[in-house]
């Protein structure tokens, strides 16, 4: 009996303020789509990070005839000096940290360079003599590159010890900044959604002030009076959340998996399973946001 009555009130309220309800649906839809996209962007960044960080190597570059930086004196590293570095890599202190390593001589470096810059004018300017010999080291734990740097950069004939992760960090900083921007926009839009829900509920209460006045006179409990309004807000917001969830799943399905993965097959992208994990978050955020703002709005409306 009472449940039917409450739901009847909800239906009435939704119908009476249809245009406001539609705007609540649209604003929650758009803001939660932003939230979902921001979450997926973060997931994508983390996924790429772990993929690339695992593949990042530490390079131990040797001196060349043209190099005057580090411990170099414009003379190329001798085979003895290279052997000394290899001995260090094999030594008991460093070996436990090293997963694998290999030596790249000038010819190999030249070939790699030619392959990388194929068609570029710089490729024809470079000769094998300009290239740098190097040990490429895969660490067991990629975060511990400092150990290699400490142990090897002081050795004779070593120009520098470079962790590739330092290049990756710059790229990820840019990606992170864009993801935080998306989160910031999403937060602003959520604030707008909350305010709009509050306004809609106040309007709905105003259009039903006769019933509300009578309910209060005859002693309907506060919770009984407020519940229909809260449900009204939650229903409107949930419709928006479901649309947002659909949009996020569609973006992943058709844009990310359908287009990006085809275009960039080497990169792994967030998949449908990640999108489906975001869905309950969006529904939860939408419902909670609406419940809280509708509750605050109706409580304050009834107090005055």
């Amino acid at each position: 009996m009472r449940l039917a009555l409450v739901l009847g009130e909800v239906g009435q309220g939704l119908r009476r303020n249809l245009s406001m309800v539609v705007s609540v649906v649209l604003v929650t839809f758009i803001s939660l789509t932003f939230v979902g996209t921001a979450i997926l962007l973060q997931a994508q960044i983390n996924q790429m990070k772990s993929y690339w960080y695992d593949r990042a190597q530490v390079a131990v570059y040797f001196c060349t005839d043209f190099s005057g930086v580090g411990g170099c004196d414009q003379t190329a590293a001798t085979p003895e000096q290279v052997a000394a570095v290899e001995a260090q890599l094999e030594s008991e202190t460093l070996a436990p940290f090293i997963d694998a390593y290999y030596f790249e001589d000038r010819e190999q470096a030249f070939e790699n360079f030619q392959a990388q810059f194929e068609g570029n004018a710089i490729a024809s300017l470079v000769t094998p003599e300009l290239m740098t010999e190097a040990y490429w080291v895969n660490l067991v734990d990629p975060t511990q590159s400092q150990i290699l740097a400490d142990a090897l950069s002081g050795l004779a004939g070593v120009e520098s010890v470079v962790d590739q992760r330092s290049y990756l960090d710059q790229i990820f900083n840019i990606l992170n900044a864009s993801s935080f921007t998306a989160i910031g926009i999403a937060a602003l839009m959520l604030v707008a959604a909350a305010l709009l829900i509050a306004t809609t509920i106040r309007l709905s209460a105003f259009s039903r002030r006769r019933e509300l006045g009578i309910m209060r006179l005859v002693g309907a409990s506060n919770r009984f009076i407020q519940t229909p309004f809260v449900i009204e807000g939650v229903v409107a917001a949930l419709i928006g959340s479901v649309l947002a969830a659909g949009a996020v799943v569609a973006i992943v399905q058709f844009f990310v998996q359908g287009y990006l993965s085809e275009t960039l097959p080497q990169t792994s992208f967030v998949g449908l399973d990640d999108a489906l994990l975001v869905v309950p978050v969006l529904l939860g955020v939408g419902a909670l946001l609406a419940a809280v703002s509708a509750n605050v709005a109706i409580t304050r409306y009834l107090r005055v």
Binding site: R2, I214, R216, L217, V218, G219, S221, F224
Partner: protein
């Protein structure tokens, strides 16, 4: 049943109090008329009894409860003991007579079975049998007020507050409403009615409380709209100064 102790009510933004140090006691089963010029504070008093507003100072006890101490969460439950009727009926236009009365019971959580017994009973009591399925706009003013009274008493309240219930009705219809209110009073409900209707007050000869500028200037058992000792001209001006009134309190 109802007791006002030195109650003063000053509305925000106004300097002159709407009620000025009012003390009054209404016993169980009484029928009390509140009279006085427009703006003398009758409606303000009824609103305080309902706890729609809180007094600026002084204490109000209703049904043994101190209204200053009752928490806002408990107010709805307190109001279930009171029925209210207004000059403008305040029915829901999109609900039938039956639904208007049933609404009261639904929102306080009464069962369907109870509602289907109580509503026809109370509609018969107010003389509206056969009109349960009508909408308010299909009823005369007197009939609409009967619906409002039915709604106010269907939950068998111990107190009925009526703010100018006959204000919009012709004298014959008004007398019908008064007969109904007397019947409700005879069944044990305390009735407090604010009115400007001199004919009704004079006819019924009940307790009369007169307010002038927020002060009780007369509290007379079996009184008329104006007391016999009063000059009939300009009562508002004369009453507060008139010495003999004090003896009547």
């Amino acid at each position: 049943m109802i007791r006002f102790d030195e109650v003063t009510k000053v509305y925000r933004g106004t300097a002159k109090p709407a009620l000025n140090s009012v003390s009054l006691e209404v016993l169980s089963g009484e029928f009390v008329f509140m009279v006085g010029a427009s703006g003398s504070g009758k409606s303000s008093m009824l609103r305080l009894v309902l706890k729609e507003d809180r007094p600026s100072s002084g204490a109000i006890h209703v049904l043994g409860q101190d209204l200053n101490r009752i928490s806002s969460r408990k107010v709805p439950y307190f109001r279930r003991n009171l029925g209210v009727v207004f000059q403008d009926f305040r029915l829901l236009p999109n609900k039938t007579v039956f639904a208007n009365v049933a609404f009261t019971l639904q929102v306080i959580g009464k069962s369907k079975g109870f509602i289907h017994e109580a509503v026809p009973d109370v509609l018969a009591m107010v003389g509206l049998e056969g009109k349960a399925e009508r909408f308010p706009h299909e009823l005369s003013g007197g009939e609409q007020q009967r619906v409002a009274i039915a709604r106010a008493v269907v939950n068998k309240p111990s107190i009925l507050l009526a703010d100018e219930p006959t204000g919009n009705l012709d004298p014959t219809t008004s007398m019908g409403i008064m007969t109904l209110l007397e019947r409700i009073n005879a069944n044990g409900t305390t009735v407090i009615m604010a009115t400007h209707d001199a004919g009704i007050v004079d006819r019924l000869q009940r307790r009369v409380v007169e307010l002038v500028g927020g002060r009780v200037v007369r509290d007379e058992r079996g009184g008329g709209y104006v007391t016999q000792a009063m000059p009939q001209v300009q009562p508002d001006i004369v009453i507060p100064a008139a010495g003999p009134r004090e003896g009547l309190r």
